[in-house]
């Protein structure tokens, strides 16, 4: 008896087109030592496309990504992913600003990821080769990962995240200290992931990068959302005072 009921309710959800947003933060508060670092943050992101998080240093961008990844739990409010409370899982991958690579070769780093993500032993070699190719890492495969250049390390970290075939890819200033060439390589990997249907949430201070990749801009300040604006509009006509000040400051540099 319970089965038809659940099937019916499932159908009705689809028919009604009620699809929960990919990421939903609702009134999220995160406190450390009595200070609210994230202060009532509410944000819904759709299941596809690229959202760029911008905002001054200390705005809470990295913490927001950690909350989305389920690495930290909010003190108040809810963080949900596809309607359920987030816990770390392989459908969400996070690339840290400073890549954390294992003390192993590039190949072994990727192998470890595939194993951790539960890819079967038989399938691993094929997937591994594809990942190396994707990141143009074939010639670096047997080098110790931690002696590579910054750009190469970030490529390994990003390709490793893609090994999970994540539905949500969180990127924290992935090109912050890279030259234009290395930046272009990272951006093309991000574009590819987006084309494959992954939802991208990217933190960057690079205005050009935001314009190249973003569908929408979420501007954070003091642990709150100042505005959510389509990308084309944001750079011409930011909707919030904070956004305007930030962009003016940027232009003055």
């Amino acid at each position: 008896m319970p089965e038809p009921i659940s099937r019916a309710s499932h159908l009705s959800v689809i028919e009604a087109g009620v699809k929960p947003p990919a990421v939903a933060l609702h009134d999220v508060v995160l406190e450390r030592r009595g200070k609210a670092l994230v202060d009532g943050l509410t944000l819904s992101l759709s299941t596809s496309g690229t959202t760029v998080l911008m905002g001054p240093n200390g705005a809470g961008k990295s913490l927001t990504l950690r909350l989305m990844a389920g690495l930290i739990a909010p003190d108040e409010g809810r963080v949900r992913w596809n309607g359920v409370e987030t816990t770390p899982s392989q459908s969400v991958a996070l690339v840290f600003q400073k890549p954390v690579l294992l003390r192993r070769s590039v190949r072994a780093n990727l192998k470890h990821a595939l194993k951790t993500y539960g890819v079967s032993r038989i399938e691993r070699p094929r997937r591994l080769e594809k990942l190396l190719e994707m990141g143009e890492l074939e010639n670096l495969a047997d080098r110790p990962a931690r002696v590579l250049s910054g750009g190469e390390q970030q490529r390994v970290a990003l390709v490793r995240a893609l090994a999970a075939r994540p539905k949500l890819l969180l990127l924290d200033e992935p090109t912050a200290s890279l030259d234009p060439q290395a930046t272009a390589a990272i951006e093309s990997l991000i574009r590819m992931a987006a084309q494959n249907g992954a939802k991208i949430v990217l933190v960057t201070h690079d205005r050009g990068q935001a314009q190249r990749l973003a569908d929408e801009i979420v501007f954070l300040n003091h642990g709150q959302v100042a505005e959510v604006t389509p990308a084309q509009r944001f750079f011409d006509a930011p909707q919030s005072q904070e956004g305007r000040d930030y962009l003016d400051g940027h232009l003055l540099l």
């Binding site: 950690r66 690495l71 899982s89 996070l94």
Partner: protein, 235 residues
């Protein structure tokens, strides 16, 4: 003084001639020490890792206890193992007293806290660096510990070598539970102690030279490991 010079000469002759008695003693020393360190690694590595990564009540007390046990006086460990294994003791039926097995047990007890404690420190540091990454990848506890142990392999080998050094040089515990019986439980350190007290300096010196040589070897190994770990950025 002439005796002394002669003793040195004789010692080198014993070493160069691969004297059977000398080799037997060295062989047993190696067997006991390596077995003890192996057992200590099998217990100490996972124990240290769990103490670093685990979150359970009593963990802090256990951490303090294990690091306190690092400084155990060998004679006390020898005495405790003696009491356990003696005919009247709880494990007396096993009849292990005055066997190499008893010596391995005593040394394993001495070395395990060293390895566990060093492992805990090393894994604790690495955990700080890897925790968010591994959690974000959805790694479970076992996977996490395995990753940390493997990535700390150079530092852990260093810890194992430190344990080896301690076991190799140790005399008090093996003397008590082994009894220094010729052809059965006589190892380098106990033989040196005995031969010196008998005034048979040649054998004592020969063993002493080899012991120092081994200790230099262990330290050279430590340095080599550290160098290559740094070169590969695996340190």
């Amino acid at each position: 003084m002439q005796d002394f010079g002669a003793a040195f000469g004789e010692a080198f002759a014993l070493i160069a001639g691969l004297d059977a008695g000398l080799m037997e003693i060295i062989g047993l020393s190696m067997r006991v020490t390596f077995s003890a360190v192996l057992i200590a690694c099998v217990i100490g590595l996972p124990l240290g890792a769990v103490l670093a990564v685990g979150r359970f009540p009593g963990r802090h007390i256990l951490v303090v206890l294990v690091s306190a046990l690092m400084g155990l006086p060998p004679v006390v460990v020898g005495l405790a193992v003696y009491l356990m294994l003696s005919a009247a003791g709880p494990l007396g039926v096993l009849q292990l007293l005055y066997t190499p097995t008893a010596m391995i047990i005593a040394q394993a007890i001495l070395v395990t806290p060293i390895i566990a404690s060093l492992t805990r420190q090393v894994i604790d540091d690495l955990h700080g660096e890897y925790d968010e990454l591994l959690r974000s990848m959805g790694a479970n506890r076992v996977g996490m510990i395995a990753t940390l142990l493997w990535d700390a392999r150079y530092s852990l080998l260093t810890a194992a070598l430190a344990g080896l050094g301690r076991a190799l040089a140790e005399v008090g515990a093996v003397m008590i539970v082994g009894g220094n019986i010729n052809h059965v439980t006589r190892v380098m350190t106990t033989a040196i102690a005995l031969e010196t007290s008998k005034g048979a300096l040649a054998l004592a010196l020969g063993l002493g030279i080899i012991l120092v040589g081994l200790s230099i070897l262990v330290n050279a190994g430590l340095m080599g490991l550290r160098k290559s770990a740094e070169r590969l950025a695996y340190a």
